[in-house]
Amino acid sequence: MRLVNWQIGKRDRMLLGGAPILLILIGYLVIASQRHAANPSDKILPLPSGMASAMGALLSTPDPLTGQLVFWADTLASLQRLGLGLGIATLLALVLGLVLGALPMVRATISPLVTGIAVIPPIALLPILFIALGLGETSKVALIVIGIAPVMIRDIAAHVGALPREQIIKAQTLGANSWQIITRVALPQAMPRLLQAMRLALGPAWVFLISAEAVASDIGLGYRIFLVRRYLSMDVIIPYVAWIALLAILLDVTLAAVSRRAYPWAHGSEH
């Protein structure tokens, strides 16, 4: 049998998918315990027990300066920035994407501007944002928005612009005006695409969040990682990175589920 025709069953897929992850974990543990056997105070590859005790302090002992539980305060601050940035970018993408895609007049006016902003590397704008908006929350949220909104806007605009011409003509012969075409024909069909664009934008959004927090912040997941780097605290960095990965996966799975739930017509014929 040809390899391309070799289908994998559901149970085997779980086993196969889990194998590389398990291998890496075991490899890490073997090397870490070897290093610890040679040098019990090794900081580069901490053992799970070391990570647990370091994280235990961050999870349950209040910070003497602020009185907050550091880990949860970091998570909350980062998620708030990420949520605000993603939310504002999504709203911009929906509104601008719809009018850009549906109205030739708006497309002619705004399209070059959006394209221009999209080609600027957002991190290059970070100094400008810090100077203009200060070092507070605004500049961090603004960096996320500027980083992901142009791509999302262009994606939604392209999707709306690519709706079959026949549909738009048909809507007009049914008496729909421009507003009705945008709200009843274009908007609902843009929604699943918008959720898809959010999922794709999550990756870059995390990059911009961690970058902004690394450069200037006093709280947040990215801030903490870059802070403890000075003390070679891999026992904090590794759990934090794992936590960020877990959060990212959870957000992605949630968005995918929302799309399947709310827009079944966009996900194949078997609803």
Binding site: P164, R165, E166, Q167, I169, K170, A171, Q172, T173, L174, G175, A176, N177, W179, Q180, T183, R184, V185, P188, Q189, Y263, P264, W265, A266, G268, S269, H271
Partner: protein, 255 residues
Amino acid sequence: MTGALLSLQNVWVEYGDKVVLEKMNLDVAEGAFLSIVGPSGAGKSSFLRVIVGQEQPTRGKILLDGQPLAPECGPDRGVVFQRYSVFPHLSALQNTVFGIECAEAPLMARLFGSAKRKATEEGAAMLAAVGLADSMHLYPAQMSGGMQQRLAIAQALIKRPRILLLDEPFGALDPGIRADMHGLITQLWRDYGLTIIMVTHDIKEAFTLGTRVLALDKRRHDPHAPHRYGATAVYDLPLRSRPLSESAPAAAAES
């Protein structure tokens, strides 16, 4: 000419220096079923686009009920395309009442309470008329090609258009379904007193359904500049003034 529902007077369609249609003169009487045939590239689709209002003629006048046609699409001309003429995000019933909602709720395009009940009844009746009474809550992706075209017809008819334009509406359907659709469109045409213009590739279909068949083609051809002459009506055959009996189109299509 007076008395014609739709009247084309010396209509030209040109794209740059490419002439697609030239000197089209045509009067379509109320209640006619006009079939349009012709080879590919003879301007059948351009002809339909001009009547729908999607494009403007370069020269000439088009009158509907004696009034010049507005330069964009409107609810007086319904249309069914070969594909993509139903909304994939709406169920069959929602697709059908869309036309009513647009007219009665300019801002929201949604109806509530008794207005919604009335629109739903009207939509359900229209779906029953095209044979989709059992499929009111299906989405287009769950329907076969023939059902989607039935839905597209119901969606257009709910606006009671002065003219129904069909752009190869049955071209993508298999022969058995196509025969059913011929029976359906003939019956709707008779029941609702429609005026229909249908573009088709299928000459037999054109003669089976139409009361009049119009063939578009180029009268002249310059081998060195083939785009310089456009197509026009080369044959205009009046067939009958009444539709065939109900079973005839299906029988003719099967033969």
